[in-house]
């Protein structure tokens, strides 16, 4: 399937250099030009086209697992599944269903396999996303998948690891990112209302801040923006949005004031910070991993 011509050492270095300097857009365009399957779609490379519409193309695989092995690919260049828009994904499966029916009926297959590999670790070789549709006969030895029993503890662990991310994905990732930014901005704009502090506190806080809520009502000092910033007190992380590492001094001051609420008080902001950090890491890490997988085909 891979017909990349052999390059000399020098050519390869040049190419690597070139790839490094490309923007993601350029890189994608470059991949597209290099992609054999894009050339099959455009007709530059001849193929046995069984089915074609605006969105997808189905051809006979030239290295088939069985007679009638079809490749169903989107016409647009995508490397892996998460890059594909919902509509196209649904359409690919819908067309696969139609073609599967044909394989069952006219080739008298006893079953069909849909097989997709995303990423080289999953056995993907082509740099263009595709759905394999393989007609099967019993004991033909194709795609023999053995299943193992796993314990319930493992299932639960996996569930808790997956659940949050899935909800984020289902809630449309881009939107949640955009919302976060908007929220931050609006907070910054709306802030100039008032801040809360006390005689002994070293910082001033927003009303919602856990520190502010732990100041007893009779000790609360309410300041407007001007007063707050002109006072000797420093803004809390809830005001600046920056993560200031908690100083022990502050905890001590506060613990003297309120021995009972101490644990909660010092715990909350830390947790918040951790969560924020985690979210950020997840987002950054996530984007990188997807691009990495797509990029492995360079």
């Amino acid at each position: 399937m891979n017909s990349t011509p052999q390059l000399t050492e020098e050519q390869r270095k040049q190419l690597e250099e070139k790839l490094k300097n490309m923007s993601p857009g350029e890189l994608r365009e470059f991949q597209k030009q290099q992609c054999i399957f894009c050339q099959i779609v455009s007709g530059k490379i001849p193929s046995k086209k069984v089915y074609e519409d605006d969105i997808c193309l189905a051809v006979l695989d030239i290295n088939p697992a069985a007679k009638g092995h079809l490749l169903i690919m989107p016409k647009e260049h995508y490397v892996i599944m998460p890059q594909i828009p919902e509509d196209s994904m649904g359409h690919l499966f819908f067309i696969s269903r139609h073609l599967s029916q044909i394989l069952l009926k006219s080739l008298k297959a006893e079953g069909t396999n849909i097989f997709i590999a995303n990423g080289p670790a999953a056995g993907q070789r082509a740099q263009h996303f595709m759905v394999h549709l393989i007609p099967r006969k019993e004991s033909d030895g194709i795609l023999e998948i053995e299943e193992k029993l796993i314990d319930h503890e493992m299932i639960r662990k996996i569930k808790s690891a997956l659940e949050g991310k899935l909800q984020e994905v289902l809630g449309v990732k881009e939107k949640s990112g955009a919302k976060k930014e908007v929220r931050k901005e609006t907070v910054k704009q709306k802030e100039p209302e008032h801040f809360i502090t006390s005689d002994t506190a070293r910082r001033f806080h927003q009303e919602k801040c856990a520190f502010a809520q732990n100041i007893p009502t009779d000790k609360k000092i309410i300041m407007d923006e001007k007063e707050a910033f002109e006072s000797e007190k420093k803004p809390c992380s809830c005001v600046t949005g920056k993560k200031i590492p908690l100083k022990r001094e502050e905890e001590q001051v506060q613990s003297k004031k309120m021995p009972k609420g101490n644990k909660r008080e010092s715990g909350l902001p830390d947790e918040k910070k951790e969560q924020e950090q985690e979210e950020q890491e997840q987002e950054e890490g996530g984007d990188i991993s997807l691009d990495d997988i797509a990029g492995l085909f360079k």
Partner: protein, 186 residues
């Protein structure tokens, strides 16, 4: 005997439900190819893919796609395999259509690669002819009919894009709501 996947819905098995709505379910079974494998299946019982209505199949595939994305990021997978075993001859074990999302890592030791089958030129040509002839009969405009049927049966749930059909959907919805309220009155 009751279908295993329908049993998951009734909490009769050790599987954990990861997600469900009124049409699609994503569950973690206790028999898997690799840990982290997620099984996506329609709530309604369909044995093989050919029986699954278009809109539900599309929803299942979109859900599998999203789970694939989530698996990449939360389980640190380096890749995913999406597998449908459609029919006994294809290794289907539970008589309920499902899409398996299998998270993969370089070091997991699973090899799903098949051997290439050597075919004669004329074999390829004849298969191509048969498939092409049948595939030419795929009529995408027909899907509108099946959708309308679906609408009449289920009320809502249908995503239709172009203006005309959207109107029809709305009308149908209206009728259905009327019908429902009529039923409620007596």
């Amino acid at each position: 005997m009751k279908c295993e996947y329908c049993g998951i819905l009734d909490r009769e098995s050790k599987a954990e439900i990861l997600y469900q709505d009124d049409q699609v379910v994503a569950a973690l079974k206790d028999t898997v190819v690799l840990p982290g494998q997620v099984t996506v299946f329609p709530k309604e019982h369909f044995t093989i893919m050919e029986m699954v209505p278009e809109d539900i199949l599309k929803k299942c595939s979109v859900m599998a796609n999203k789970i694939g994305a989530a698996v990449f990021e939360s389980l640190g997978a380096q890749g995913t395999n999406i597998v449908v075993q459609n029919g006994l001859g294809a290794g289907q074990k539970v008589p309920h259509f499902a899409i398996e999302v299998i998270p993969r890592n370089e070091s997991d030791g699973l090899d799903l690669q098949w051997k290439t089958k050597q075919l004669m030129e004329d074999e390829i040509e004849s298969v191509f002819k048969i498939l092409k002839e049948e595939a030419d009969k795929i009529d995408l405009s027909r899907k509108e009919n099946s959708k309308k049927d679906k609408i009449k049966k289920n009320g809502e749930e249908v995503i239709v894009k172009d203006g005309d059909t959207e109107m029809k959907v709305k009308k149908d919805k209206g009728e259905n709501y009327l019908l429902k309220s009529l039923r409620r009155v007596p």
